[in-house]
Amino acid sequence: MKHLGTIIGTAIAGIFVMSVWGAFAEAYGIGGGWFAGLIIIGTMWFLNHAVGIINNDGAFVDMAAGIGMAGTMRDVFLHGGEAFTSSLPTLIVVLLGGITGGFAAVKLEQYLAKKEAKEEKAEA
């Protein structure tokens, strides 16, 4: 049951992002794309992470993992495996950038927490 929630939640989020978002951007330009982020991610975040149908009893799995997969697999189902191999360089660079960004954020988070604790100690 817990994994069923993850599958349904990421599938729905992926379907919305990879169809409706582009339509908003096409119809209203860059403002439409921004607005699509607000309504789609807002609602899907509420479902997946606030209500919480994605099972998260370990290292945090964001709905984004499923959303990225949905966009890529949509094109693989439509155009075949060659579409995937031609996109592989982008995917690799994007994953490396994401890993670096997440890691840097944690390091800064830990630094800030340490600094705050030190300041509190100094005040007390």
Partner: protein, 111 residues
Amino acid sequence: MTFQNMVATFSGAFIFPFLIRMLWGKMCESWGNIGGWVAAGFIVGTAWTLNHGVGMMFQTGGAWIDMAWAAGIGLFVASVASGDSLSKGLSNYFFALVGGTLGGFILSCFM
């Protein structure tokens, strides 16, 4: 993919999970669930305008690589680095990818 494309794509992928990890939790802490909606607009919406709206992320091929890939892996790595369980997380990550594949298949049925 030129060197310039790689630098831009890498940087765009760095920025997105970085902003989410640094800001999203604080917004929810300050404003409750409404903070999640604020974050959706001001983090995801704004990062979208950068990465896909003006095109910081270069696409080499026929399958769309969304900035969501960066957020998914970046937030996962961040969580592992801060001490959460990798093995439990990996099985959940796997099922998220299964859900994404299902979503992608359903999309291919009508697009």
